[in-house]
């Protein structure tokens, strides 16, 4: 059983709200990202998503776009992200999912990427712009390396594509709560619960719901009908605010405790 499946199994047994925490690798620096990931894991994040900075983050809103720009300006790359994970893996308990656009992986080389990711201790890979119809070759390289391919589903995804993603996915399925790009919102979209219901009809995989989730009440609300909530932009904002400060990692950890427990 993969580290991701174990994390969700633990969550199901505990009945508590699940939290997937996203950060962009290299924001503010690649070494700080390692400290932040450690703090997030120690503070109760159930799964960590590490965003690989990319020049054209099509699915991201302004907050993660800016984080990506800062990280690229600081020299962060896919290779350096994997090196950082490899260096710090032993002190991070939570499973790590790479959240990336497909082009850096194609440039790295599919097979070379999968072996480097496996060696670094990556547990899952989520490709924002690789449609399920095109995902076969990468998926069949990831699975023997014990890396879970994670697929995204949105309110416009048809039942046929939900079924295909459920069939090909491992670890968990990522539900996009609303149409649009990443970014914090005031309310959880009403469409999200209906999407979760549709997906449950096709899959027993755990469901994580992201896009627009930024507060403990959102996390609690989502976890009534899904296994975990994904918080990205709101956490990236905290990191941007404290980026230069020595305690950025502990601030990020505090934010995660607040999200999970409603108090810091």
């Amino acid at each position: 059983m993969s580290r991701i499946s174990n994390a969700f199994e633990r969550l199901r047994r505990s009945g508590g709200p699940g939290l997937v925490a996203y950060v962009t690798a290299g924001d503010p620096t690649i070494d700080r990202t390692a400290d932040i990931l450690t703090a997030l894991s120690d503070s109760g994040a159930d799964v960590l998503e590490v965003g690989v900075p990319f020049s054209d983050p099509l699915a991201d809103g302004p907050v993660i776009q800016r984080a990506s720009e800062r990280a690229l300006a600081g020299g962060a790359t896919l290779r350096r992200t994997l090196d950082m994970i490899a260096r710090s893996r032993s002190r991070i308990e939570a499973p790590i999912v790479l959240f990336t656009y497909v082009n850096p992986i194609l440039r790295f080389g599919k097979d070379a990427f999968v072996s480097a990711a496996a060696a670094a201790g990556v547990d899952g890979v989520l490709l924002l712009d690789l449609p399920v119809e095109e995902a076969g070759p990468l998926r069949s390289t990831l699975i023997p390396a014990s890396i879970d391919p994670i697929f995204l589903l949105s309110p416009t995804t048809t039942d046929v594509r939900i079924e295909a993603s459920a069939d090909m996915g491992r670890g968990f399925l990522y539900l996009i709560s609303r149409l649009g790009v990443t970014g914090a919102r005031d309310h959880v979209s009403a469409e999200a619960e209906g999407l979760a219901r549709r997906v449950r009809a096709h899959s027993t995989l755990p469901l994580a719901v992201g896009f627009g989730i930024s507060r403990p009440e959102h996390v609690a609300q989502v976890c009534r009908w899904a296994d975990a909530a994904v918080v990205g932009s709101a956490l990236v904002n905290v990191i941007a605010e404290h980026g230069a400060a020595a305690d950025v990692a502990s601030q990020a950890g505090r934010f995660v405790r607040w999200l999970k427990e409603g108090r810091a």
């Binding site: 990319f54 020049s55 054209d56 983050p57 099509l58 699915a59 809103g61 302004p62 776009q65 720009e69 690229l72 790359t77 896919l78 290779r79 656009y101 497909v102 082009n103 850096p104 992986i105 194609l106 440039r107 790295f108 712009d129 449609p131 416009t156 149409l179 649009g180 790009v181």
Partner: protein
């Protein structure tokens, strides 16, 4: 665009070039997909956009081929078109793809030089990659980040190229070359002076190369150039460039 009633919104993110405008358009589209149609203006983007746009543009090729047969009594020896995303080129090439005697030549933007960031000659400086839903040749760095581009003509200033062009090139059916800013500007002026036609700066790349190609051919050979756009839109940038050269 404003004359025709459009709201024009400036893009402040990324490198503020065409690719960033496309990123923003796609972000808006995914948020408003229920009531928004994304009109893609080139043979790019996810399937089936490249095929749709090629089909709509192919009228020019069908007409040019029919007129060649009618007015010249034969097919041209070469067809030359500029290639940004490559819609005008796909449109005119498509009717001639099966005519093996006709050379198909696409002309990319050589910009200031072939240094990274100074041009948009994807086949000269790019490698296969995925940008904005299309797998084709992309100007990118060693880590898969998309490089900045430059061309005197906005319509050629893009880091990737229509995937069917990459396929025609790999099949050996079409060939691709590039023309730099200065040669395109000279061709723009030449056509204005000698023919009284203001070509778009994009098309001026094709004209420049067609003139060079014609110099290597026999006087009886025929070169068909796709004059894909008008230069009215370009007079200000041409003026600025000419003043810069003085």
């Amino acid at each position: 665009m404003r004359l025709l009633g459009a709201d024009v919104v400036e893009v402040s993110g990324g490198s503020r070039t065409l690719k960033d405008a496309i990123n923003e358009a796609m972000r808006d589209w995914v948020a408003n997909v229920n009531d928004t149609y994304y009109l893609l203006g080139s043979v790019l983007g996810p399937h089936p956009y490249p095929l749709m746009v090629r089909e709509f543009q192919s009228v020019i090729g069908r007409e040019a081929r029919a007129q060649s047969l009618e007015q010249l009594g034969r097919l041209p020896d070469a067809v030359v078109a500029c290639v940004g995303g490559g819609s005008n080129a796909m449109g005119i090439f498509d009717a001639f793809v099966d005519d093996q005697s006709v050379r198909l030549v696409g002309v990319e933007a050589g910009g200031r030089s072939l240094e990274p960031g100074q041009h948009a000659a994807r086949f000269a400086g790019g490698t296969p990659g995925v940008l904005q839903g299309t797998r084709s040749y992309v100007l990118q760095d060693a880590d898969g980040n998309v490089e900045l581009t430059h061309s005197i003509s906005a319509g050629l200033d893009y880091a990737s190229v229509g995937p069917e062009h990459a396929w025609l090139r790999e099949r050996g059916r079409a060939e691709y070359t590039w023309c730099d800013d200065d040669r395109a500007l000279a061709a723009f002026q030449r056509l204005a002076r000698e023919e009284g036609i203001l070509p778009a700066l994009e098309s001026s790349h094709a004209i420049a190369y067609a003139c060079e190609l014609a110099g290597t051919m026999s006087p009886h050979d025929i070169v068909l150039v796709n004059l894909s756009g008008r230069g009215d839109k370009d007079v200000l940038s041409v003026q600025a460039a000419m003043e810069g050269m003085r």
